[in-house]
Symmetry: C2
Subunit: 514 residues, 2 copies
Amino acid sequence: MKPPKDKYEIVSEMGKRRGYFWPSYEIYGGVGGFITYGPLGSALKRNLETKFRKFYLQPLAIVEIESPVIMPGTVLEASGHVENFKEPTVGCVKCQRKFRADHLLQEFGKMTDTQTEKLDLDAVMEEIQKLGIKCPDCGGDFNKAEQFMTMFTTTIGPYSDSIGYGRPEAAQGIFVEFKRIFESMRNRLPLGVAQIGQALRNEISPRQGPVRLREFTIIDIEFFLDPEDKKCLIINEVENETLRFLLAENKQKENPEITTMTIKEALTKGIIQEEWLAYFMAKAKQLLILLGVPEDKQRFIEKLDYERAHYSKQGFDQEVYLDRWGWTEVSGHNYRTDFDLARHMNASGVDLTAFKETEDGGKRFVPHVIEPSFGLDRLVYTVLEYAYNKQGKRNVLSLPRDLAPMHASVFPLVNKDGLMEKADEVYHMLADSGFVLNWDHSGSIGRRYARADEVGIPIGITVDYQTLEDNTVTLRDRTSWTQVRTKLDELPELLCNYFANKIDFNGLGTLIER
Amino acid sequence: MKPPKDKYEIVSEMGKRRGYFWPSYEIYGGVGGFITYGPLGSALKRNLETKFRKFYLQPLAIVEIESPVIMPGTVLEASGHVENFKEPTVGCVKCQRKFRADHLLQEFGKMTDTQTEKLDLDAVMEEIQKLGIKCPDCGGDFNKAEQFMTMFTTTIGPYSDSIGYGRPEAAQGIFVEFKRIFESMRNRLPLGVAQIGQALRNEISPRQGPVRLREFTIIDIEFFLDPEDKKCLIINEVENETLRFLLAENKQKENPEITTMTIKEALTKGIIQEEWLAYFMAKAKQLLILLGVPEDKQRFIEKLDYERAHYSKQGFDQEVYLDRWGWTEVSGHNYRTDFDLARHMNASGVDLTAFKETEDGGKRFVPHVIEPSFGLDRLVYTVLEYAYNKQGKRNVLSLPRDLAPMHASVFPLVNKDGLMEKADEVYHMLADSGFVLNWDHSGSIGRRYARADEVGIPIGITVDYQTLEDNTVTLRDRTSWTQVRTKLDELPELLCNYFANKIDFNGLGTLIER
């Protein structure tokens, strides 16, 4: 018997068929680690960006910048990436294919991230041999492990010595341009600077769809602080928020226990060392709730010393539970200290300090940085997986209404007696008011509802014979299948309030009893 | 005497100082061809994208996709880019620096694009020697010309034979994914598909700021049509729009004359061969008007046979006049026929045809493509240059209100007597309603107005003693400096209507006579 499909398989199949996302370059056999967002997927991704801005950036007046994806070697040497951005690989002696050694150990040796992270190259090879792991493609043996730098390398301009890299994170674009940004913001701290953009990591053999990509969209926020004045004045907004932690001390146990505590507690006990780190973690949890991930399907995992990136003093990964991959990182929260600015100041010789008045006149210092960083593609996929559900035989995508790529469908009940023309009129009236609409007049109304439910269109608007008489339409809720009747001339304003989360579906009209 | 600054110099200086844009990687001495958008610039760029969507994409229900920047070699071999995407270079025998030969001939030999385009490598070298052009850096001689492929090259994954390129246009991402897109849109034609994203061109020696970038944002729209049914049913919407043409037949004349005619005329006379090409050109002209470029500062230049890209059957470039660089391309409009889909169908062996019912049962065909393509960075720069003006001694940036990165400034008249607190209240009330605000309380009110005018904030809101009494504020218009008085509780809705272009400044309150 065929095993039942997992959610990834169902969501991917729907994604390909209906235009959410699919593996890139399929007509040429595909290239691992790249996905393309279709019409619905790219709209969902944009809506998610907009929601992120409203929820995470604007309330703190965090500004954005946009810097290039291509970076000169000098920048990534200074940042430590050229030295540190490497992963252990092994090659098959028979078919010559190369694999990421730590991933093989995780997949075939059931080792955790935490366990593989501390192995050096010799230890990696030893474990592979001890576990008898062979090439997944041809069954061949592996030869000795080596480090592979996972940045895309290129040359800038016509000279071969002018090395450039695809940036592995958007953060360096902010650090390297800090001086101009800081001055244009009139040298004030704290200063939050975000960048949403493409990042590139030349993964060795990515095989996990939207969860491990060679090209992805990252949201990096660098929150610059005076290291002598790191208090978060709005911590009270989130101090009672409860987080679920997998603490460093519990990570290496067989069945690691989850510790639940409030932000206030975590700060008091020193579990989270920095108030701003705690603030951003609390907001990250709230964001994931808004995206449809319940409390018990998310957690924060503390990074051990040797697991943290080279720039981090304390770090937590936010993980969500995904059907196929289990606990999966969607954001990282790190205290980067003055690591990056100090490195760039040293390497460039340019002053990147801030100034403050003190009793003795004044003082220059290198700002410290708290960094929340999100993988946008993983968030998009997470939203889809959590929105997916089955109602009877029907697949329904219960996307949060403000993320749905289309607001409503317009359905003429039948294709005659002037209903098409009336529906067309409704379509244009709403389109002119800025709504994104689906038009569907083929097949039974039931089939049309089903098609709209599957891609997550929140509202179905049916134009029927009564519409011609009294200018009212039926609205149907995607998730509850409740129906209300509404006057057409009130519809644009009502929908506007509905999508701004000001009213619920029942507020859209008069309930139709069934 | 120092020559007066040109607009590029003024706008760039302001851009650096106030956070619009600047050359990337300055602390490391800079790398030509890359710019970074600061807080104001990235917001302006996003607003411009939003406006583009509303004006150019949504009325035609053009959908968007998002495909990777990194493309495997196979795709760009099939598309003809590996073969054709080359530029002539010459190297200095003394300092070894390389330059783009056609740009040298244009800069030092006063040749036009049209003239250099038809020269082969030998002819290029001959012209350089005839004109006595020497290395602009060291005065050395040039050795022989060669072709340089202007795509960024990399390898994908750990195998050196797996060549990848940075995409030189977003269009190929659409063509190569056409099958899935078309199916997800239920196989209907015409179908408009857009992609807004990064493109990379490894220019040899870019020296023109935002006008010639190695990394830039492109807006490519591929409008797929049945080649036997190419009529544009909405051409009447634009048929009386007047365009200014520099026609192919006039291009090689000494003082090429401009031909002005309506869309209708251009189509009737066969100047523009395709209705949809004409439609998109008319909309491109209207867009530039909305962005602040007057009629006489824009034109369409017809491409000669040998000037057109390898995929184009007919093409026009839309140019705007810029103070430093003269007539500069901001968009290209090409009839790409079935060139790209046919090439990918051949190379991949995958069927990329559409199907239509005919009297004999049915017919498969390769859709044809009309392509409008915009350089977003050039549009951003153009908006800034045209918005810049001088009123007395003051620099004012008269950005169209829906593009301005910040909606309004909030100014407490003085920093005492409770005015700061009241202004803070106003700030938060408006921020909560979604407005992006500037807070400025330092220096005289005149200086604060000047700072806000320079970066283009449309409205200044001053909180004064009267505000404490009757809850009214003064609003000041950035461009006319007119002032009105308004009740605070009406302000959010009024501003909302103002930024939606529903009311003018005078509609925001009661005029204050001065």
